[in-house]
Symmetry: C3
Subunit: 354 residues, 3 copies
């Protein structure tokens, strides 16, 4: 497996402002992290924090930012670009494209063990893997790749060039856009969690909506997006969900938002565009978050957020012994404040309200 | 797809105190949220907060509480009931029943690609989907619907009229009650997490119990209920679990409790009846929670709870800058309390212990 | 199903220092918890807290620690050992081995519905379940048991005597060691979450590494271990993961660490050996945790940890009313500290910095 820097620059020259300072006939055998790159490897440096690693790197070539041009060129062969991380991403795509064996996705054919209902519509250029099941009325568009054991429900739609890994479930009527990537175990369109209390029991509200997913969406392994109760659950274009993410019914996620692993968004919440959520964040239901809201890991959002910005709410971690002392005090924090107020009063200090 | 209000009232008249104020021959084409309902739609209003939407709603008919009778009737056709949300839930069930195409569940037959061990017992009225596997000794009762790719282990039991979506795993010996709904990717009866430390390694305790699930239980997508170590893990009647919920071995969940998404209950904990858990809540192991305990989202329960009530423990979320300041102070909260105590002492104030 | 204490001691005599005080011909019909054990049952007592249950237990025999020898022997038949919990674990293994019907794993054969690519290599002593799919180049070693509906990707390797429950996905090129146990829904080798921001969108970094899992590793139901971006994601020998655990790309987990349910480890973090993580703990990315670090449940680790020990950071849970008061105060904690400082200054007290 190899590439020439010439091939790399053919791509980067079109898609970026990257410039090669070095020999285009250099052979690249591997894409590597800067610190472990060997003499046939292409690496990148995007975080200035790791600049110290640059001088000592053995890499055949390093993609660096324009600010790093001088030390990079002094070291040796370099690709200089205003967005080195983006350029490196493009190179990984080129690498995978040139080495199709790196994937489990089969090339354009229907596996003999797959079950396709006669009333389903499968494009000639689509592939369907072993033991996949495509129900009546489902539409599988051009260039789609359905992995083994996938289940595509009645009337579901999978848009052009989308790739489903093994074991993906797309329930009846759900819509997946173009160029989406769904990882194994993802469940699109299970029932939302809707029950009415009655006489001490829970009475089910049948979930009559569906899930509508835009283009260029990626959905991680074992993540779940519930179908809407009445209207649909909507995931915008370019949204990226990591693994084990839960999206409740009637949630709307704006374009190009990204949710890290183990995030949960409760029902009927609307998330803006270009938002990010750190791992394990929880957003309660029926809230609205503006565009460009960034929620830190393990943070719980209990109210709507109208302003862009970074929001955090997690208990700081320390030694268990320290935690025990501080957490005990926290349980009487309100009383502490009251004691402080009384002291201030006794001393004639006016409370400084924040 | 449509219903007459006459059909709706035939159901609600038997199951509730609902009364129609309007024309029973009104045709309903859709069930809709109040704010977006069109002139052929049936909507409901249960939260008085949204009363303002009532007057402007274009809905053909709105189900409202008795307290809302007057403004509703002034607007137009109304169904008045003491429990409007419950009534609406019943209508969604009627809707789905009348429109069976809304589901991936096949009608009463064994898919030719399914594998059923000759020593399994399948009721004549049960259905089994594509590539489902039913092992020896398993019992599939009347009216059960097993989705595609389900795996029903040796000697497992699925009670009458239960519905399993595609990709559900029920491991050997586990018992599912009647009228249960299991969503895709749910795993019932994987091994509990039990290991004995020995010489710096973990030695497995084989998990010899099973999972016993009552009637009318719903289990969300990719949720897991582990089999017991020695005794069984038990889920009571009417319990509702959302997606990505983890139930450890030997947990017992009382009847009609409801757990939202991403909740985790650690092993050997006993949960009472009629409890609720917000999304992302964690309950440690070997605890006992009384009936009617309500745990807020993202709250961690570290001790048993003997009294009904609402329990909360989550760090309040604000701007990251504010969090940084407050979290830093939190790490020395105990010292702060001590400083306050010293001040009080210096001023001759007796500490007011809470 | 039964065992003689003679059989039990044949095992424990070799693997431990256990001694039987009683009749080796005693028949054991069941392994039970101490408090519910009947007169044909074998139980154990490892936690001195439950000593009171010993005297009243009806168990045929109880495994106890050497410290408990006297009260145990006074009660009746006992097995005395320095590690009673470990001994009991060994007995559960013996029990399962003698009762193979307790498992869904089929005995050494290829199910006729399985699909095995002609270019895959399956050991003669391996079994493959219904509808399992083994792709070209995959290697299934001796004694391996592949459950129904498993998907083993191109060039993946499953080491000797490993057991995969139904619905496990092992993606292309991933490596599973020997004697591993993977529970249903586990996904090994889905893409890591890597995207470069560019022009307001996310550009995918193809994930070119793989997952390498050591020997004696157990992975819970619906847990996910992502493939590395460039290098591999590595899970050491003897590591135990519970259900719904998320391991990001390029994480390294040291030998014999254990992670409880719903834990998430973000990308490029290195975890030491013999670490433990309570349920719902989150570790941010690019951190390093030393050996023997123990992270409490629901705790978020935001910085590297260099010293062994117990680390905690979770908001203490109480009544919702108390929480409301204290959480409100917490939002102005920094201001509170400032007020205290001013008071101290006013009184001429020197701030006692911690």
């Amino acid at each position: 497996m190899s590439l020439l820097l010439f091939d790399v620059m053919q791509l980067l020259g079109v898609r970026s402002d990257a410039q090669l300072v070095g020999d285009p006939s250099t052979v690249i055998d591997r894409l590597s992290p800067l610190e472990s790159a060997g003499p046939q490897d292409l690496a990148f440096l995007s975080n200035p924090r790791y600049t110290a690693q640059l001088a000592s790197s053995k890499a055949a070539c390093v993609i660096v930012s324009t600010a790093m041009r001088q030390p990079a060129v002094e070291r040796g062969c370099s690709i200089v670009a205003s967005e080195p991380y983006y350029c490196f991403a493009l190179v990984t795509q080129l690498w995978k494209q040139r080495h199709p064996g790196l994937s489990d996705l089969s090339a354009g054919h229907i596996h003999p063990t797959a079950f396709i209902d006669p009333a389903a519509s499968i494009a000639v250029t689509a592939s369907v893997g072993a033991f996949a099941c495509v129900e009546a009325g489902a539409v599988i568009a051009d260039g789609v790749n359905i992995g083994s054991h996938c289940s595509i429900g009645h009337g579901a739609h999978v848009g052009a060039d989308s790739h489903l890994s093994p074991h993906v479930t797309v329930m009846h009527g759900c819509f997946i856009g173009e160029r989406c990537v769904l990882h194994s175990g993802a469940v699109i369109g299970a029932d939302g969690f809707g029950f009415a209390p009655h006489a001490g029991q829970w009475v089910k509200l049948e979930q009559l909506g569906k899930v509508v997913i835009g283009n260029d969406v990626e959905i991680g392994a074992n993540s779940c997006i519930d179908r809407g109760a009445l209207d649909d659950t909507i995931v915008g274009d370019g949204v990226k969900l990591d693994n084990l993410v839960q999206i409740g019914h009637n949630v709307r996620i704006g374009n190009h938002s990204a949710l890290a692993g183990c995030v949960g968004i409760a029902g009927s919440t609307t998330i803006g565009a270009h938002c990010t959520f750190g791992g394990g964040a929880i957003v309660l239901g029926h809230l609205t978050l503006a565009d460009q809201v960034h929620v830190s890991a393990a943070t719980t959002v209990t109210r709507s957020i109208t302003q862009p910005g970074q929001y955090t709410g997690l208990y700081p971690t320390g030694s268990h012994a320290d935690w025990e002392k501080n957490a005990a005090t926290l349980k009487s924090l309100h009383a502490l404040r009251e004691r402080l107020r009384l002291l201030e009063k006794a001393m004639g200090v006016r409370e400084q309200r924040k």
